[in-house]
Amino acid sequence: MTAVGMALVCSGVFFLLTGAIGLIRFPDFYTRMHAAGKCDTLGSLLVLTGLACYGGLALASVKLLIVALFIFVTSPTATHAIARAAKRSGLTWWTREEGR
C-alpha cells in the first residue's frame, strides 16, 4: 500500500510539473488553459489519492478522498468559467500564420 501510494504521488507530481511547464511555454491563452486545466486536475487528484493510499484505512483517508472528489468537480468548472469569460469578451486565439 505504501509503494502504491508513493508511485501515485510521484506520477501526480510529474503531471503538476508538466502542467506548469506548459503554462509558461504555450503561445496563447487557450492553449495555456489546455495545459493548465487538465494537467492540474489530474495531478492533484493523483497526489491526493496517493496520500489516501499511503494512509491506509483511516478517517483521514476518507477525508482526503472527499477533497479529491471536490477538486475533481470544481477544477474543471472553474476552468470552464474562465474560458467562457475569455470567449465572451472577445479574446481571439492563436493561429500559426500570425504567431510566427
Binding site: 504521488v9 503538476l16 492540474d40
Partner: protein
C-alpha cells in the same frame, strides 16, 4: 525515509508553483493571471496535504486544504464572472511581447 519523500515532492511542487508565478507576473492579459492564480491554488492544496503528512498532523491540515480548495473555487468563479461582464481588455496574445 518517508518524510524525505514528502519533502522532495513538496519541493518539486513548489518549483512548479514558481513556474506558474512567472505566468502570473508576466502574463500579457489579465485572464492569464487569473488562470495562473487558479493553478497555484490547486497546487497549494496538494502542498498543504503533503505538509500535513510531513508533520504527522494530517487531520488538521486536511480541513485547511478543503477550505483552501473552496476559497480557490469561489474566487475563480467570482473573478471570471466579473471579467465576463466587464470585458477583458487584452492584446493579441500570440503577437504579444
Amino acid at each position: 525515509m518517508s518524510s524525505t519523500f514528502f519533502l522532495g515532492a513538496s519541493i518539486v511542487i513548489l518549483v512548479a508553483v514558481l513556474l506558474s508565478l512567472y505566468r502570473v507576473v508576466r502574463g500579457p492579459s489579465i485572464i492569464d493571471r487569473i488562470i495562473g492564480v487558479n493553478v497555484i491554488g490547486t497546487k497549494t492544496v496538494a502542498v498543504i496535504v503533503l505538509t500535513g503528512h510531513l508533520f504527522d498532523r494530517v487531520e488538521f491540515f486536511i480541513d485547511i486544504a478543503l477550505l483552501y480548495a473552496l476559497i480557490n473555487f469561489i474566487g475563480a468563479l467570482a473573478l471570471s464572472r466579473y471579467f465576463e461582464r466587464k470585458g477583458v481588455l487584452v492584446k493579441r496574445s500570440g503577437a504579444a511581447q
